[in-house]
């Protein structure tokens, strides 16, 4: 049930609850003294376009719906069926996203080597969602080989190697164009530094291969350096992509925010997500000037296999955490906090975990556990 907000005076005079050592997260949520003061009318329900997608998509978006209903969150979903083998995203879906400005989506599987261009990429280009963000962090209670991981990978989402400009020169020789422009490099660098600034992050690392692709990645680096000068409080350094992957596997704690062009961003995001727990738990999304699409953090084209779908054992954590990010984006921070806390508590407890985290629960069991833990 939605908690009625206690009058400020009563809350200030009430004895602050001492944090119990077994549930530190509980202590943090109820001791919140900084209140967000909304404008009148901010509580009106917001429309969110929902695209269940393929494979495990419908399962995990269903989980999000259930949790949102249980929380009575002020969002309502407009659902549209889109599948990866459609030639283009239907116009009505794009209309809806333009109207609502926010979308939550399961993965869309792209057929390999076929004649269809990826719908994930199409959506991003159509709506000019130029920044893809993946937040990779260790979840308390989930054992992984690496500790102290807290990396945000910000990846340019529209150009680079994913321009889709390929042609066969003569039979047996194919060319693909990688395009880097100053405009796109500058705006992604600006986004990365702004993100670091707004989220109290200390360091931004640019990932590149400018020793080989001197002009293309050189242009990217130039843009990053220029923007770095405007944020003297934030450390900036550069690292070559192969060394970066090696360092991620050996010493991930040295990375904070990473900004990369399109292809390297894909690889680095997947490596970072892998060391922190896997694609099943990392939240992320795509954001542009006017719109935002939230989805599972890394590898949006990975929709699991039929076995997982059949047995309904997909991991809803990634999409639940992404929907918490979405709630913050819509300026409902309290709901976002409650959702995140509940999810983290479920993971920390360890009783309800899906197969990719080493457990045996189904999607529904995890969802029910999260709903039970909503404060």
């Amino acid at each position: 049930m939605a908690r009625r907000s206690t009058p400020l005076l009563r809350r200030l005079l009430a004895p602050s609850p001492s944090p119990s050592p077994s549930t530190p997260l509980a202590g943090a949520a109820s001791r919140r003294t900084v209140t967000y003061m909304p404008r009148p009318g901010d509580g009106a329900p917001r429309g969110v376009t929902l695209i269940p997608g393929d494979g495990i998509g419908p399962l995990v978006t269903g989980a999000v719906r259930q949790v949102m209903e249980a929380m009575h969150a002020p969002v309502y979903f407009e659902t549209y069926e889109v599948h990866g083998d459609m030639p283009t995203v239907p116009a009505e879906v794009i209309e809806s996203i333009r109207r609502n400005k926010v979308c939550l989506k399961g993965g869309l599987a792209t057929p390999v080597g076929g004649g269809v261009s990826s719908l994930n990429v199409q959506l991003r280009k159509e709506l000019d969602l130029y920044a893809a963000l993946v937040n990779c962090f260790n979840l308390p209670g989930l054992p992984t080989r690496h500790d102290n991981v807290d990396i945000v990978v910000i990846r340019e989402n529209t150009e680079g190697e994913y321009s889709g400009l390929e042609h066969e020169v003569v039979p047996g020789v194919v060319e693909s164009l990688k395009v880097i422009t100053k405009f796109c490099s500058e705006r992604i660098a600006k986004y990365a530094f702004e993100y670091a600034y707004l989220n109290n992050r200390k360091k931004v690392t640019a990932v590149h291969k400018a020793n080989i692709m001197k002009l293309a990645d050189g242009l990217f680096l130039e843009s990053c350096r220029e923007v770095a000068k405007k944020y003297p409080g934030i450390q900036y350094n550069e690292i070559i992509v192969d060394n970066c992957c090696m360092q991620l596997v050996a010493k991930p704690e040295q990375f904070d925010v990473m900004v990369t062009p399109n292809l390297y961003g894909n690889l680095v995001a997947n490596v970072a997500a892998g060391i922190a727990g896997g694609t099943g738990v990392m939240p992320g999304g795509n954001v542009g000037q006017d719109h935002a699409i939230f989805e599972q953090g890394a590898s949006a084209g990975n929709v699991g296999n039929e076995k997982i779908v059949e047995k309904k054992r997909a991991n809803p954590v990634a999409l639940l955490l992404s929907s918490a990010m979405m709630l913050r984006h819509l300026q409902f921070p309290s709901f976002a906090d409650r959702l995140e806390t509940a999810v983290k508590r479920v993971i920390a407890e360890g009783k309800y975990r899906t197969k990719d985290l080493g457990g045996t629960s189904t999607t529904q069991e995890v969802t029910d556990a999260v709903i039970a833990k909503l404060g």
Partner: protein
């Protein structure tokens, strides 16, 4: 893994045999005949670790005569680089070589050393076996895979230009010929080393024509080797699986860019470039084994360098020459020395010097 440690004596040769043999080469293995091989000691720590390799080979009685060549101090106009024509001719003639780390000279008007070697010798495949070293603990214990990377084209063609101010294009080129060549080598390697599975790594859902062509070529070659399993893995899943569960991979074959990143990632899984052997295969059966780490000028000449990478690469070279029993003995000696832990160089957390480590390896042969 525990079982492997218990049976260390008897199991290691099997692991070694599977792990490091490159292509079957047209070499005669009559005993008594020495084979000439080119040696590029390189810069920085290069000469010291090259000496270690020579010492180990002497003790093991390997019939190799080294032709040493050094990087010159001025640009040779015939090769447009600091490597002389004679050095390259030597490798072409001997068909076998070992290269230490070379510092890249700065400046213009010449090609980089690696580029020169690659182009002049037609080195088309880079083979890097990554095996966890028993006794040297990293976060991953059971890595046992080989990365085979196409080395000539792809994203590293170097063809870039500025279209208008602020817009740059870079060409990625995939040809049927180069893809077939590296796929052939990958399956051949898998068969010759008793490997069961070859995985082609790609991003053909996005780069449909280029990586699509690469995959088509791999599929064609896969049909000729029905006894070897073949699968295709998208690079996102590959990265994820490598950091979560690297034991699922066997042989990986990839185009240039992915290969660069993945092979360094795999080197990171087993402990870094200081422990990883590598070998480049060229047209006409040329095998140039190399150490992929840097020249470490700060510890040069101080007897502190770790010769493991160069030694393991030299073992790869021996297998290419089909001196399998000698290769096994040297390989086991290296693994035992590291496993015992008494003589380890500083980068592995020990205090031994290069010469102490080398002597320990020789004692184990």
């Amino acid at each position: 893994m525990a079982l492997r440690r218990l049976l260390q004596g008897s199991v290691l040769p099997r692991v070694a045999g599977r792990a490091l043999a490159p292509a079957v080469a047209p070499f005669s293995t009559e005993s008594g005949e020495t084979i000439r091989a080119t040696l590029f000691p390189g810069d920085g720590i290069g000469p010291e670790i090259a000496e270690s390799v020579k010492q180990v080979f002497n003790v093991a009685g390997v019939p190799i005569e080294w032709e040493e060549h050094y990087v010159g101090t001025e640009v040779d106009p015939r090769t447009e680089s600091f490597l002389t024509w004679e050095s390259l001719e030597s490798v072409r003639r001997n068909k076998v070589g070992l290269k230490g780390p070379m510092a890249t000279p700065i400046g213009k008007g010449h090609r980089s050393l690696n580029l020169t070697l690659r182009k002049e010798l037609g080195l088309y495949a880079n083979v890097r076996p990554c095996n966890s070293l028993p006794g040297y603990k990293t976060r991953y214990d059971d890595v046992n895979l080989v990365t085979i990377r196409e080395n000539t084209e792809g994203e590293y063609s170097g063809l870039e230009h500025q279209v208008v101010r602020g817009v740059v294009e870079s060409l990625k080129i995939i040809t049927r010929q180069a893809s077939l060549r590296v796929a052939e080598y990958a399956f051949h390697y898998a068969k010759a080393n008793g490997r069961e599975r070859v995985s082609a790594i790609h991003k053909a859902n996005i780069m449909r024509k280029t990586d699509g062509l690469f995959l088509k070529c791999c599929r064609e070659v896969a049909e000729k080797y029905p006894e070897i399993q073949y699968e295709e893995v998208i690079i996102d899943n590959c990265c994820m699986t490598l950091v979560k569960n690297p034991v699922l991979f066997d042989v990986l074959v990839m185009p240039n860019l992915y290969g660069d990143i993945i092979s360094d990632l795999c080197a990171g899984l087993i402990g870094g470039l200081g422990l990883t052997p590598s070998c480049n295969i060229g047209e006409g059966g040329i095998c140039l084994a190399e150490a992929v780490h840097g020249s470490a000028p700060d510890i040069a000449g101080k007897n502190l360098a770790n010769p493991t990478a160069l030694m393991l690469s030299a073992v790869m070279m021996l297998r290419h020459l089909q001196f399998n029993d000698k290769a096994d003995r040297i390989h086991n000696a290296i693994l035992q020395t590291i496993a015992e832990g008494k003589y380890r160089t500083a980068d592995l957390g020990g205090k031994a010097s290069t010469s102490e480590f080398t002597n320990a390896v020789c004692d184990h042969i």
